[in-house]
Amino acid sequence: MLRFAIRRLAMLVPVFLAVSLVIFMIIHLVPGDPLEHLIQVGSSPEQRAQMIARYGLDQPLLVQYGRWLAKIVTGDLGDAIVMRQPVARLIAENMPHSLALGGTALLFSTTVGIVTGVLAASFRDSLFDRTVMGFILLGSTLPSFWLALLMILMFAVQFEWFPVSGARSWDALVLPALTIGIGGTALIARVTRAAMIEIAGRDFVRVLQAKGVPFWRIQLRHVLQQAMLPVMTILGLRIGWILGGAVTVEYVFARPGLGSLLITALGQRDYPLVQGCLLMLAIAVMLGTLLGDLAQAALDPRLREAMGAR
């Protein structure tokens, strides 16, 4: 298992390099630059040229990338040009908010998704199955921006149950977490349902049924346990996806977090900050996938063998 984990970790290095290059190039190839936000009415074209040189923006892109990469391997994400603060500090201040939001959303989509999936599989093709799965599917297809505004209008403006925006109290977490969570719920419910149905058709389940083991005992103790394998992979992938999905949601709900920070940074073309935020999101996706794989490998020895580790 340890060898498997090490191999799996080593695979992340080239992925990280490729991702960092893509992140760097994408933002630099988009027109516009951070100086638009630093040049004042009254300053001269010469001052603009001086600033371009000061921030190293006159160097070839590959040189700039090399410098950035050399810095990040030592743990230094550089200083934000427009924000004028260390990128690492800005990310550290905002990350806890995103983790709290992502964590709550993940918890919501996992519990609701698994419970719904189990019930839907247990009452397969019933009215309950079709209705609930239909609703969940609908929720997951709505754009998060639109869903967020719908949530605000319904639960904050109409019923006044939760605040419209901000992060000053715990209840401000509910609507944004629901907005993000709904998309994941559908996915987890579908995967759980499909796996439960597939496993319920296997021979060992028939044997258990023949032995007279009660239905719910078979479903929860035997079928669900095995159905969790694909769910684990999905959960791992969701970790990174949720942080990425939080970008628009944080913005609409005016919440602090990596998403809000990224949107501000993108608008200002604050290169080091955009790069730092995107890198964090990419790392979250990579780690999430790794965790999912490790969890699956821990539960299923065949996978470890397939990866060549014994």
Binding site: E36, S43, A167, V252, A254, T264, Q268
Partner: protein
Amino acid sequence: MKTMMKGSLLALGLATLAATAAPAQEATFVMTARLVGAPTYNPTKATKLNTATTLIFDRLVVQDADQSFHGQLASSWESSPDGMQWTFKLKPGVKFHNGEPFNAKTIEWWVPQFKGTENAFTVEAIERVEVVDDLTVRFHMKHPDPNLLFNLATSFMCVPEPKAFEALGDKFGVTEAIGTGPYKMQQFTVGQQTVLVRNDDYAWASDLSANKGPAKFKKLTFREIGEESTAYLELKTGGADMLVNVPTDFLPRIQADKAVKLVTIPGNELVYMPINTSVEPFTDIKVREGTAFAVNQKEILNSLYGGNGAAADTFLISSLKESQVDPKARISYDPERSKKLFDEAGWKAGPDGIRVKDGKRLEVKLWTQNGTEFKRLVEIVQAQLKAVGMQADISIVDAGSINAQYRKKTEHQLAIRSYQWTNADIVDWFFAAKRAGYPNVSMFNDPEAERLNDIAMNKSKTWDERVANFTRYHEYVLSQYPFAPIYQPAQSLAYGKRIVMPEKIRGTGLYGPTMLDIAPAN
């Protein structure tokens, strides 16, 4: 015992009642998109500052909506006839939030702080600062700068406390911000919110405030909400007391909402259409003039903005004296003149109404940046141009990259843009040849304009002289039609029933002087 408990319960009940009946001591203000994302409150280095800045810090002078100047930290000032010396008398008894005194030495330290920063241009003309006595300071100038008072009145020239400024370095304005203003910064999260608490010692307000003492709210929270719907809904549900700048798209909804009041003050913004003078067909002045006179400003004002604000007929906001140009120089809708000019330029109406010259149709590119307001505006202008025989194809470009596209210099023809500025030097910023591409989107390069620019920018000794020189320069630029003026938005504030606004809003926007007069409702 029972009676005693009853008594305490009664007292507690009364106290609670009294507490709910008393006016609220706190208020929440929301800053929307345009004010979101100021990264620091360090006035000397920041290029973006928000409303809260002028509550934490004071400036030497402040400017009223009519562009007149009033002392804030300065009690009076005078300049020598040759413009080479400015002497400021400072108010006595002024203290920073940390107890340090404010005096002439503060100014002597402060001016050099701008050197090498993005805001260096504000003090560029000052050679040195002389401390005459504890409360008198003299600026010795490298060259006359009649614009000095304007610079001193901007938020970028708020005065920070020297010791804290030096001790905190880059953290000044982020973790702490010490000024002499009516509020102290308690907490600041970039892009999220700033919490201010009242400076109870404050007693040096400018004459733009009726209230000379401490502010009326104990605590103010300035939230930053970029998403306009969310900002509006916060006000509607009572989560916020005021929208500091109402997004134009929400004006009709706020006007119809009885729970919310709307107040408008003269704006400092101008919407206009730059015309790229370096590309066909706009190299021909007649085509430019024809295009400029095809824009129906009043129709835009009424149909798009419900009559809020004013039509623009020059390049400067109408509160600036330099906008008082010869009536003949003003550019306002005249379709007959427009059509005649196109005819004279050889562009004759084709069978489908679009003009044609040498077999070529009058088709141009019309750019704008994304955002609902710009999108609607550009569609109206497109229809207005079509009415005189010009077909304009719209391109909507991301706001973050549009300036880079202008820098390519020849790819754009017409555009719809806006700027916010309360000084005539904006004519230099947008029309000086050395800034071609961006900000000189019109690619305007004219020897006579350059000559008048030099006089206005560098040869004016006094404010009146500067006004006269800039008026002349502005008038000349108007006569060359490198743009079409469109609209002057008003600044709109929307507020709920928990606060009372002063009868008159003073200053060039909702800044410190007015904020001192805002009170909790009884």
